[in-house]
Symmetry: C2
DNA sequence: GAGAAAATGTTAGCGACTAACATTTTTGGG
DNA sequence: CCCAAAAATGTTAGTCGCTAACATTTTCTC
């Protein structure tokens, strides 16, 4: 018998149905009640698992990883450079299974305005974590805030670029985006 | 007789009532129907003027100015630097009246999660304009996209910092934020 | 297998927003 | 000044995301 709880199973089912419907007919054209019906569950249950419709697509597995990686960069680098190089280090540690799931989600996000907006909100939280890491290491809070925000914006731009163009690799797209921030270094 | 059309008058009235209510009780705690009532107008009319509740706070007079200013920077600068310095040039041309209105709006935005998120959406449009300007001048599209996004993120961070701290000046806060992006230049 | 706890369902409702259609108000030309 | 066209506003009704309160069922644990 599966060692997974019912909660986990329902969540997995809802996630799969939601992604499939979003891919088929678009995020905005898919209602929560439709997703719930498709998973044989009530609308209320959907919200108990996700909190919002957007959360069905926006799961962020990176935040903690990124913040930690940044903390491992040498302290004498400029704040923005530390952030950039930390992210780069963190993203090279993803396996294929993780990458394909990321790709699926990012595609949906990239093609939906309301989701790109929602991602910005999530980025705000990630930015706070990165800012904190930089501050802890002695960077001026204001500079840290700007650096963290800029980093995530560039990173998102790279992800979207990758999602929209078949011929780009994740690593390549992110490299391009991040290298812009390194200007004269 | 005022040469202003009725449309303009209604819009000005709605804007003032909306800002006042948002300042008093918060954005999320203020309903559109409340604003409409306070302006002696129907709810429908509000939406005909603003399109969304957020638009009552998020009017962006900068987009075109910024894009133009960036276009005037020397072509041999790195994309991010051109963007940064263009913005700096654009913002120094604001008069006191404009500044105080900006301050009022930014305060409300900074203190409201849903508005910060909505701002991100607006930034996306501004970013597209900036990216276009950079591309026109020969910058690689992907690099331009990342640079524009990073710039606006840092700029927003500076604006929020300014709005939250009494002791900062707009110019100073923005300087701090933008200088982070100039790293090794 | 019984009881506690977790998961789910139902109903009711709020607030943002839209569509369709009716009504009033403005405004520009005669 | 007046009157018709156009612009602005109102009304009604409905969708969708989301929440609260309370009832019911299912799952886990002992």
């Amino acid at each position: 018998m599966a060692t997974v709880s019912k909660r986990e199973r329902t969540l997995a089912l809802l996630t799969e149905r939601a992604l499939a419907l979003f891919e088929e007919q678009g995020f905005d054209q898919t209602s929560v009640s439709q997703i719930a019906a498709s998973a044989g569950v009530s609308e209320m249950t959907f919200f108990r698992h996700f909190g919002s419709k957007e959360q069905a697509v926006l799961v962020d597995p990176f935040d903690p990883v990124i913040a930690r990686a940044i903390g491992q960069r040498p302290l004498n680098e400029a704040p923005l450079l530390r952030a950039v190089r930390g992210v780069r280090a963190a993203l090279t540690g993803l396996d294929d299974a993780e990458l394909s799931m990321v790709r699926r989600r990012v595609r949906i996000i990239a093609s939906t305005l309301s989701l790109r907006v929602a991602l910005a909100k999530q980025n705000e939280e990630t930015a706070a974590a990165i800012q904190q890491q930089l501050i802890t290491d002695g960077t001026d809070p204001r500079a840290a805030r700007a650096a963290a925000a800029a980093l995530l914006a560039a990173l998102s731009a790279g992800l979207f670029e990758w999602a929209e163009n078949e011929d780009t690799t994740l690593v390549g797209a992110i490299e391009t985006a991040l290298s812009v921030l390194e200007v004269g270094a």
